[in-house]
Symmetry: C2
Subunit: 204 residues, 2 copies
DNA sequence: GATAAAATGGATTGCGCAATCCAAACTAGC
DNA sequence: GCTAGTTTGGATTGCGCAATCCATTTTATC
């Protein structure tokens, strides 16, 4: 969690931090549900139960709020990722099952919180894009840690490049989530992850 | 290319068809560059060199125009896809190289024209989402045709399910394109496609 | 408990942009 | 060449929404 950002208030009261967090949380939910462009400041204001001036007290403008949301979602996702151990085939399967199950439980709605943001901002907000890229880097590093461990312990063939595999796994997940979100069906996500699992098994 | 759509004018003059096409092309370019929400009717109007009333003569409203753009992009992509033969490992490698090269040439800007649209519309325009899903289905079918052929001719092991593999390949491509777009670097795309190629080779 | 800073309330402003309207000028088909 | 339908011009409207403003109340610090 990189602090920084919101210019004006340098010292935040405990109460202020709570309010700020409430705004970020509400914004994150709304943006996850309907994207940045279709989420209005008014909606965020109402959902967070704050006044307009409060919102602009904590964030310079809408882009600044979006930046805080990206940071928030990165933290949530990377935090979640680190509860899984990807250094064994069994662990990767457990992770795969969790991801698929989670999509089923949410009716395949929303896709990946970071991926969707990245797609929307990529060509219009370079600062936002950089931030999403940094989030992906952290995520990738987390996956890589597992595969490197697997490789070091000889459970991945020595010719295998664990770093490239980590990137491929993240890509397969992203593509699977996108197709799953659009088709409202986990088939694509399962096919993508199972293909990667099969590859990893064959390289064991 | 499914016709239909724009309510009002049932009979289009040649001139009318040209104008309509010009609008769709301009809209497709702009939307590819900056997304649906950030593309204004005024921009499309100027780029296509038409008047406001012309635009609303051919399309009921902005969502209708977006629908025409989705249709257009689906046609372009599926058309392009069909110039490749995915029934041999060699052919798939050629396709992989083309995709990567294309991203390099465009500086990794824009991502996938359909994927980006799908991501933006998924939760806010169910009609648009359905249309993107249909586009992906066509794309998937095109890939599947190659892999089924490969399977039938014994160049893919009999235990392999070519349909699931086609879906996984499309997902890897989408995820690779998304990461590549955000990181402005083709490494992820290459890792994703190469992983799938390796899997296919190992299943040959 | 005084005072400076921070947090909150809510009305208001101004503009970007989708969409409408009323013509006028073409293009078919008979 | 007449007329019904199609295509085009461009001004205008109206609203959604980001952002500003001026208070008032609360919290920290000494």
């Amino acid at each position: 969690m990189s602090t920084s950002a919101a210019s004006s208030p340098r010292r935040l009261t405990r109460k202020g931090q709570e309010t700020r967090q409430r705004i970020v949380g509400a914004a994150a939910d709304l943006i996850f549900e309907q994207g940045v462009a279709r989420t209005t400041i008014e909606e965020v204001r109402a959902a967070a139960g704050v006044s307009s001036s409060q919102l602009y007290h904590y964030f310079d403008d809408k882009p600044a709020l979006v930046r805080a949301v990206i940071e928030h979602q990165s933290d949530v996702i990377v935090g979640g990722q680190e509860t899984f151990d990807l250094s064994t085939l069994e662990g990767i399967r457990t992770w795969r099952d969790w991801v698929v199950q989670h999509q089923r439980e949410t009716s395949c709605v929303g896709g990946c919180p970071i991926g969707s943001l990245g797609s929307e901002l990529a060509e219009t907000d370079s600062q936002g894009r950089d931030q999403v890229a940094a989030g992906f880097k952290r995520w990738e590093a987390s996956i890589r840690r597992g595969l490197r461990e697997m490789h070091a312990q000889g459970r991945l063939s020595s010719e295998t490049d664990p770093d490239a595999l980590a990137l491929a796994l993240l890509a397969a997940l992203q593509g699977g989530l996108l197709l799953t979100q659009i088709e409202r069906d986990t088939t694509a996500l399962e096919a993508a992850l199972d293909a990667m699992l099969d590859l990893i098994a064959r390289r064991s």
